[in-house]
C-alpha cells in the first residue's frame, strides 16, 4: 500500500530524511518509532503528499500521493490534532464527513465508538485534550479508510481509551487495512504491530518484525531461575561454562543468553539444578529501541555532551 524508495527530504538546507526505504502491505500494522525530531511526522507527511520528496519516490496506494481523489481511502490523525473551536463535535464530524463524502449515518456511530456521544453537542473549545484526540480519531475513521496513518494516537487518551484504540487497530487490520502507528509509548504497542521501523536522525536504523529485530540486535534473552537450591554451589560450578550468570537475590539466578542457545541451555540447567520456577524474559520493544537508537553515532555524541 505504501512504497518509499530512496527518499530524502530537506527543510531548507537541513536534511531530515536520508535515503529512506519503507513499505507497508495490506492488513499490516507498521510501528514507526524514533526520538523527537527523528523524522516520523515528516515521513507521514510525505506519504500524504503534504510534502514532495526532494529525492526518491513515494507511492501511496500504488499512486503518486498528490492525487486528490485517492485521499478518500486514507484516514489521518495528526499529532496535536486541532479543530474549529466554535463548532460542536457533531458539527465538526459532519463537516469532515461531507468533505470526505462519507455517509452521514457514520457520524453518530463514530461518536459513540470513541465515547463522545454525550459531548457531541458541546463546542470543541470546551473539550479536554483527550476528548479532542478522540474526535481526531473519529475523523480519521470516516469513510472506512483502507490506509490509516496515526501520528501519536494515544497521546492524552486514558488507559481504557488506549486499550480501545489498540482493539480498533486489531479489528481494522483483520479487515485488511494498512496502518502506520507512530508512538513514543512503547510498552503496550508490541502485540498490535506486525513490524517496527526505528528512525534515528532521519535514517532507518532498523526495520522488521520483532523476532527479526531481536536477531539483528542479538539482544540477550534473560532466564531467571528462582527458588534455586544450593545457589552458591551452582554459581561456583557453572561460572566457567556460563559466564553470563549472576545472582539476583538469595535464591535466584539470572542468565543472559541468545535465541540460538536458549533451549539447549535450559535443558542442561533443568536436569542438573533444582529450581522452583523459570522466567524467560525476551527483550521487549523498548530494549530493542534503546539498542538501535544507541547505535546511532550522532545520538551517542549527543548523550556524551
Amino acid at each position: 500500500m505504501i512504497h518509499l524508495e530512496g527518499v530524502s527530504q530537506y527543510y531548507g538546507r537541513h536534511q531530515v530524511l536520508h535515503d529512506l526505504n519503507l513499505t507497508l502491505g495490506e492488513g499490516e500494522v507498521l510501528g514507526l518509532f524514533g526520538h523527537n525530531g527523528a523524522g516520523k511526522t515528516t515521513t507521514i507527511k510525505l506519504i500524504l503528499g503534504l510534502l514532495r520528496p526532494d529525492r526518491g519516490n513515494v507511492l501511496t496506494l500504488g499512486r503518486s500521493p498528490n492525487q486528490v481523489d485517492m485521499r478518500r481511502q486514507i484516514g489521518y490523525l495528526p499529532e496535536n490534532v486541532m479543530f474549529y473551536p466554535q463548532l460542536s463535535g457533531l458539527e465538526t464530524l459532519r463537516y469532515f464527513a461531507r468533505l470526505k463524502q462519507a455517509p452521514l449515518t457514520q457520524v453518530k456511530s463514530l461518536l459513540e465508538q470513541v465515547g463522545l456521544s454525550e459531548a457531541a453537542n458541546q463546542k470543541v473549545k470546551t473539550y479536554s485534550k483527550g476528548m479532542r484526540q478522540r474526535l481526531g480519531l473519529a475523523q480519521a475513521l470516516l469513510g472506512e479508510p483502507r490506509l490509516l496513518l496515526l501520528d501519536e494516537p494515544t497521546v492524552g487518551l486514558d488507559p481504557i481509551a488506549t486499550a480501545d484504540l489498540y482493539e480498533l487497530v486489531d479489528g481494522l487490520r483483520r479487515q485488511g487495512a494498512g496502518i502506520i502507528l507512530c508512538s513514543h509509548v512503547l510498552p503496550g504497542v508490541e502485540p498490535h504491530i506486525d513490524r517496527a521501523a526505528i528512525l534515528g536522525h532521519g535514517r532507518l536504523r532498523a526495520e522488521g518484525s520483532l523476532g527479526e529485530l531481536r536477531r539483528q540486535a542479538q539482544a540477550p534473552i534473560r532466564l531467571r531461575l528462582s527458588g534455586v537450591k544450593h545457589r552458591d554451589q551452582c554459581l561456583e560450578r557453572w561460572k566457567d561454562q556460563i559466564p553470563d550468570m549472576r545472582p539476583v537475590n538469595a535464591h535466584s539466578l539470572e542468565i543472559a543468553t541468545d535465541a540460538q542457545h536458549k533451549l539447549e541451555l535450559l535443558k542442561v540447567l533443568l536436569t542438573s539444578i533444582q529450581v522452583e520456577d523459570v522466567d524467560i524474559h525476551q527483550p521487549g520493544l523498548e530494549d530493542l529501541y534503546r539498542y538501535f537508537i544507541a547505535d546511532d553515532p550522532a545520538q551517542i555524541k549527543e548523550t556524551q555532551q
Partner: protein
C-alpha cells in the same frame, strides 16, 4: 465542484454564526439611510434631498469602509486555518488547494454580496417608500449600480486579503499587511497621484495620466458611481483627471480584473506554501 460548494457553505454558516453577516448588513443599512436623510444636515436641511447627492456621499464613505471590512473578513482565511491546525487536516481530505481557496473565497463573497444587497437595498427601499418626489426607476438604477459596484469592490479587497493570507505565515503579520494595503489604496494612492500631477505640471501626457486611476480599485469604484451621476460636476481631487477617460464598460471590466488578478496570485502563493 461540490467540494467548493461545501467549503463555501461552511464559510457562510460561520458568517451567520459569528454575526459578521448581520453586523455588516446593519452597518451598510444604517450608513445608507443616515446619509440619505441626514447627509445634507451640514447645509442646514434635514430630510431626503435627492438620489444624486445621496449616492455621491455614500460612494465616498463606502470607498473607505468596504475595503476595510473586506480585508477584516478575510485576512486570516488561510493563515488562520494554518495557525489553527485545521489546514493540515483539510489538505489530507479529498480536495485540492484550489478547491479550498475558491470555496472559501466564494463563501466570503456571498457574505459580502448579501450584506450589500440587503443593507443598501433596504436603504433604496426606504427611499422609494418614504421620500417624496423621487422617480422610482432612477433610484433603482442608481442603487443597482451602486450595490453591484460595491460588491465588486468588496470582492477585489477580499481577493487582496487572500493574497496576503496565502503569503504570510503569521496571523499578526497578515493583519499588519492588510492594514497597509488599505492605507495604500484608500489614502496614499490619491495623494501620490496628486503629487505626481502637480510636480510634472503637464510634463506627463494627458492621455496616460487618467489611466493611472485604473491602478486603484477604489478609484475605479468612485468613477463608476460618480461619472454616471452628474457628468463629473461634483468630482474633485485626483479623481477629476478621470473625467477624460473614454470608458464606461471599461471601468466595470477594470474592477473585475481587480477581483481576478489578486485571486490568481493568491492561488499561486497558496500552491507554493509549505505546510
Amino acid at each position: 465542484m461540490s467540494q467548493i460548494w461545501r467549503i463555501a457553505q461552511k464559510e457562510v454558516s460561520d458568517g451567520l454564526r459569528n454575526r459578521w453577516l448581520l453586523a455588516i448588513t446593519m452597518t451598510f443599512a444604517i450608513l445608507a439611510i443616515g446619509i440619505a436623510w441626514f447627509g445634507s444636515a451640514a447645509s442646514g436641511e434635514i430630510g431626503f434631498s435627492n438620489v444624486e447627492t445621496t449616492i455621491a456621499s455614500l460612494t465616498s464613505l463606502a470607498s473607505f469602509l468596504i475595503p476595510l471590512i473586506a480585508l477584516l473578513v478575510a485576512y486570516d482565511a488561510i493563515v488562520g486555518e494554518d495557525e489553527g491546525g485545521t489546514l493540515l487536516l483539510l489538505l489530507t481530505y479529498p480536495l485540492s488547494r484550489m478547491h479550498l481557496l475558491i470555496g472559501k473565497f466564494c463563501g466570503h463573497s456571498i457574505i459580502l454580496g448579501l450584506a450589500a444587497v440587503a443593507g443598501f437595498g433596504s436603504a433604496a427601499l426606504a427611499i422609494v417608500v418614504f421620500a417624496e418626489g423621487v422617480v422610482v426607476s432612477e433610484v433603482l438604477a442608481a442603487f443597482g449600480r451602486f450595490i453591484l459596484s460595491s460588491t465588486l469592490l468588496g470582492w477585489s479587497f477580499l481577493a487582496l486579503a487572500y493574497l496576503v493570507s496565502a503569503l504570510v505565515t503569521e496571523k499578526k503579520r497578515a493583519a499588519g499587511l492588510a492594514l497597509s494595503i488599505w492605507f495604500l489604496f484608500v489614502l496614499v494612492f490619491d495623494l501620490a497621484l496628486l503629487a505626481l500631477l502637480t510636480s510634472t505640471e503637464g510634463g506627463m501626457s494627458p492621455e496616460t495620466l487618467p489611466w493611472l486611476l485604473m491602478l486603484n480599485p477604489t478609484d475605479i469604484y468612485r468613477l463608476i458611481n460618480l461619472a454616471a451621476m452628474n457628468g463629473f460636476g461634483g468630482v474633485s481631487g485626483a479623481l477629476a483627471i478621470g473625467a477624460d477617460l473614454p470608458l464606461t464598460h471599461g471601468l466595470w471590466l477594470g474592477l473585475a480584473v481587480w477581483v481576478a488578478a489578486p485571486l490568481l496570485l493568491a492561488h499561486v502563493a497558496f500552491m507554493r506554501r509549505a505546510i
